[in-house]
């Protein structure tokens, strides 16, 4: 039975509320360490707060607390107090908080509920029992605010990533909250999607109708929006709460030491107009790669006029690759960029031999028995199962999907074991899985279930699994997705090490920060190569619009103040 209806307390006296934390702490049930510890700050009404911190600093937990998921929906141990205006979060039922606070999550695909755009926007109002006449007026208005007027009858799964995320914002705005919380709203988006989403957020910030809390790792675009910043360390403790313009070098250094990305304006070296962590900047020259690397040698990958057509669907036949040619040499790292739908995933699948091109050809070399790269190009889709591992490795954006064993040690040994079981006796190299784990900083986790590792550990393990039997060509899809600066530096360092054996690496990414670490950038658009050259040249003038987020800082429309 439903509890009797009660009216929410008067939530909107005049304008947006303040947010005040006093000794706020939270530990999730079953976790040994707290996610947040002793936060104390006061955000004045109508201001924009940018929250910065490394992985595991409790940024998302703070977002969840503001909307009442913590402590009302998720289990754990609460300390101190958090107030949104006059509402005490711990003492207010989540649905009253929900009237006031709207939260936009990171992944557009796991926050949309309905199949149609207008139903999706109405969902939050239905949940609150609003009258139909009110909804009929509010839904189109919310869509208009995010630039989706006229999208009402569209199916949500036909929208682009940026459109989906704007729809998610509309679904939150429609309930007229006075506090908006954005938890990494652009992390899953391609550059155009990121641009259009940030522009909407900037517009909301400019209107001053809401108190806004923004968690965002595209710092150069987000920092100009912020009035105040909250800096957290890797244990969920507060480093500082301060006006955005007054963060001193020492404070920034503390943030950097915690492993987080740090805005260029505060610290860090400049390279090609992109923030580069100090470690990276010291080791590398633009376009020259980071570590020592063998002279570009033999061709290990050659795609010639590759064409891929997907079977006709509602939108007709779709050409995913349109005569694409690409060559990679041993020891070379190529960054592949382009908006969603440009053909990046298809290219990786074709290079991995998982999809045979409709036209053209693909050849992949191998690492010989002597450990030296050998040219010997072969069509990857026609390789025998026992020939594949020495030629091609593929690391997914979600490393979990690639795990094949129940322990970290088993994961590292799996490919080698499979190869040995086929060549009985012929191979007596010692397989030192524990040694590999040690080098990858996972030595203490050898017996752990891969699914129980942290995001950064999973990422390193997915690379460690490719060390005992190194492939000639390593294909990487967003290899640093979701990692903070420390995690990114660690992964890129490991990739350097792997490349030192002469491996060719193809790295597909939306993150411009990785490009200075590549020897070449190949930009795709509609299945064609639209740019192929050194990274600094690409970063200076990216070939597709909107160029904003690829450039230093961001486009003028996003930079409000």
């Amino acid at each position: 039975m439903r509890p009797p209806e009660t009216n929410p307390p008067e939530t909107r006296p005049n304008g947006p509320p303040s947010i005040e934390a006093a000794g706020l702490g939270w530990r999730y049930a079953g976790r040994p360490t707290p996610a947040l510890q002793d936060l104390t700050f006061r955000l004045e009404p109508g201001r924009v707060l940018l929250v910065l911190g490394p992985s595991g600093s409790g940024k998302s937990t703070l977002a969840r607390a503001l909307v009442g998921l913590v402590p009302h929906t998720l289990a754990g141990e609460w300390q101190g107090s958090l107030r949104v205006g006059e509402l005490d979060v711990a003492a207010t039922p989540a649905r009253f908080l929900g009237e006031r606070v709207g939260l936009v999550f990171q992944d557009p695909d796991s926050q949309l509920v309905m199949a149609r755009v207008d139903d999706e926007v109405a969902f939050g109002l239905e949940n609150r029992g609003r009258a139909r006449t009110e909804m009929e007026a509010a839904v189109p208005e919310a869509l208009r605010q995010v630039g989706l007027a006229g999208f009402e009858p569209r199916a949500t799964n036909t929208l682009s990533g940026g459109e989906k995320q704007r729809l998610a914002i509309a679904g939150v705005l429609v309930a007229r909250p006075s506090v908006l919380v954005f938890d990494e709203p652009t992390a899953n988006l391609d550059p155009p999607g990121m641009y259009e989403t940030l522009e909407r957020i900037a517009e909301l910030a400019r209107r001053r109708g809401h108190t806004i809390v923004l968690i965002e790792h595209r710092l150069e675009a987000a920092l100009p929006l912020a009035d105040d910043v909250l800096l957290l360390d890797d244990a969920g403790r507060q480093i500082a709460f301060a006006p955005a313009g007054s963060v001193g070098r020492e404070t920034a250094a503390l943030l950097e030491a915690s492993g987080a990305w740090v805005p260029r304006a505060w610290q860090g070296a400049e390279m090609g107009g992109i923030t580069v962590p100090a470690e990276m900047a010291g080791a590398a020259q633009p376009g020259k790669g980071w570590g020592p690397r063998p002279e570009p040698g033999r061709v290990l990958l050659r795609a010639t006029d590759a064409v891929v057509d997907y079977p006709a669907d509602q939108s007709g036949k779709r050409r995913a690759l349109d005569g694409l040619s690409l060559e990679a040499h041993s020891g070379e790292r190529i960054g592949v960029v382009g908006p969603n739908g440009a053909g990046k995933s298809t290219l990786l699948f074709v290079l991995a031999g998982l999809r045979r091109p409709t036209g053209g050809s693909v050849g992949i070399g191998r690492i010989g028995a002597d450990g030296e790269p050998a040219e010997d190009l072969r069509d990857p889709s026609r390789l025998r199962p026992d020939e594949i591992a020495s030629r091609i490795g593929l690391v997914f954006q979600d490393p979990e999907l690639g795990f094949v064993a129940r322990s970290a040690r088993g994961e590292v040994a799996a490919t080698d074991l499979a190869a040995r079981s086929r060549h009985r006796g012929g191979d007596d190299r010692p397989a030192d899985a524990d040694g590999v784990l040690g080098r990858f900083g996972l030595g203490h986790l050898a017996a752990q279930d891969p699914f129980r590792l942290s995001q950064g550990e999973q990422r390193r393990l997915s690379l460690a699994a490719l060390v005992l039997r190194p492939p000639a060509v390593l294909l990487l899809d967003e290899p640093t997705f979701g990692l903070d600066r420390r995690g990114t530096v660690s992964v890129m360092g490991l990739l350097d090490e792997m490349r030192a054996t002469g491996q060719a690496q193809i790295l597909a990414t939306h993150d411009p920060r990785l490009l200075p670490g590549c020897d070449r950038v190949v930009a795709l658009d509609r299945g064609r190569v639209v740019f192929d050259g050194p990274p600094e040249e690409f970063l200076a003038a990216p070939p597709y619009a909107p160029a904003g987020p690829w450039r230093a800082g961001t486009a003028p429309a996003v930079a409000v103040r």
Binding site: P385, L394, E400
Partner: protein
């Protein structure tokens, strides 16, 4: 999944798209019952013809996509028909002349008729499913179940959320298979294959559960299950079209059963 309407599929408004989903569901159930109460192939043939006529005239679905939607059932239809014919007890009846005889295999007309009846029933099930679920998206079905059959919100919209996760599971399944191929992991023998499939299932279930948890949090953050009685953006009323559809479906089912064979 492909029998259920994909929201991608543009449906042009037509008679059946204006019929509330529960009325279509009730009509479909009548046909399913009719198709399974007899053992001969005549009733399913009649119902299949009626279903095709309804699809062509009133469903608003582009016909060229019907075979594609039936494709997943094609294998089941074919194999069940063939095996029902081969294994039918009617084949053992030596008093009836065989249509076909080679070695130990003997096929009688009665076996063919029984086998066709089995296969045709699955055809009717497939076509009826398309008629019930095809003309509107899953959201409408959930709305209709909640508003007209008083199914609890949490169940109906929870299922809707699960439907959103399903396509990602299919995608994950192919990625997991690809990862294993590239790592040189190969299963040998039947036991190995079963173990392998189990391992792959674990991986995609982990991913699906994580996704479902995120979706559940997002739904809760927007006030779902907040203890307030939900209102409905889209009101569904039962009208003359709905009663007409149910009456017509019942009439067709009765006629298919009663008309002389």
């Amino acid at each position: 999944m492909s029998l259920v309407s994909s929201p991608l599929a543009p449906v042009r408004p037509d008679f059946l798209t204006r019929v509330t989903p529960v009325a279509r569901l009730a009509s479909g159930l009548a046909w399913l019952v009719a198709s399974v109460v007899t053992l001969d192939p005549v009733v399913p043939i009649r119902l299949a013809i009626a279903a095709v006529i309804a699809l062509v005239l009133w469903s608003g679905l582009p016909l060229r996509r019907i075979p594609g939607r039936m494709a997943p059932l094609g294998f089941a239809i074919l194999s069940l028909t063939v095996f029902s014919i081969l294994l039918s007890g009617a084949n053992a009846d030596r008093s009836v002349a065989a249509m076909l005889e080679f070695g130990p295999v003997r096929i009688t007309p009665a076996a063919v008729s029984a086998g066709l009846a089995v296969g045709l029933r699955i055809v009717v099930i497939g076509l009826t499913t398309i008629l019930v679920f095809g003309p509107s998206d899953p959201t409408r079905m959930a709305d209709s179940l909640v508003q007209q059959w008083r199914i609890p919100d949490r169940f109906a919209y929870g299922t809707l959320g699960a439907l959103r996760v399903a396509p990602f599971m299919a995608e994950d399944w192919t990625l997991v298979a690809a990862a294993r191929r590239l790592r040189g992991i190969r299963s040998r023998g039947v036991a190995g294959r079963i173990r392998d499939a189990g391992d792959r299932l674990v991986v995609i279930l982990v991913a699906a559960i994580r996704r479902a948890e995120r979706l559940a949090l997002a739904m809760d953050a927007r006030g779902f299950d907040g203890g307030i009685r939900r209102s409905h953006f889209r009101e569904l009323r039962v009208g003359w079209r709905d009663w007409l559809t149910i009456a017509a479906a019942l009439a067709v089912a009765v006629a298919a059963l009663m008309l002389p064979r």
